[in-house]
Point group: C2
Chain length 112, copies 2
Amino acid sequence: MAKQNPDLSLLFHALSDPTRRMMLTRLAQGPAPVSELAGPTGLRLPTVMRHLSVLEGAGLVATQKDGRVRSCAIVPEALAPMRDWLDEQRALWEARLDRLDDYVMTLMKEPK
Amino acid sequence: MAKQNPDLSLLFHALSDPTRRMMLTRLAQGPAPVSELAGPTGLRLPTVMRHLSVLEGAGLVATQKDGRVRSCAIVPEALAPMRDWLDEQRALWEARLDRLDDYVMTLMKEPK
DNA sequence: GTGATACTTAGCGATATGGCTAAACAAAAC
DNA sequence: GTTTTGTTTAGCCATATCGCTAAGTATCAC
């Protein structure tokens, strides 16, 4: 089986961890250095670094180093593929429900 | 750290695998027995069963057994929490951008 | 230049994940 | 009642994930 949309896999996987979602939510309020990101999690810095790199790998967060401080910021457009998938999926389901409607209508109009 | 929304974690995790997304997409066309679900994946049945139970655990799929056949169907409303999270997150980001605008405006209006 | 600060790298341990085969089970089909 | 069909369970293997500590490295403050 082909890999088909590894982006989505990375994205969903990045979001599947509460710590990472917490970090994202914090970053939604504005950029922050790594330690400030780590604070609320109660986790050690290396652990947080790992989560951060997962978020970066998924394209959800961009970072840059300023002196000895690494500043982290959210990448708003990164969620677009997820939204697209969601919409596409909903469209498929609705199409199915429509076809089901048609089918039922056909049955009802069936002579006898 | 508290667990905060394990539902979301389950949901995102379930969606982070291409095989599971493929299965979902197939199910969007209508209910299917396990073997039909397995076919396109090229994976063995026990493997597919595992994926299926992850999807079930996340509430994305409901199944029922009819004789020796297990019929699987999508649960459309299961994606709602994800959509909510997405919207909430977008709201946060937009709020932030608004505040940034305000800040910039304040700076511009600052008398000297 | 010495020390504190802010990461960063290396590496370990426990558990989870994703694939498999082999063997069991249960309902149909014959 | 035996065989086929459609799962299901048990268990193995390789790799990935998530936490940690300990020991770097690189700036900044004195």
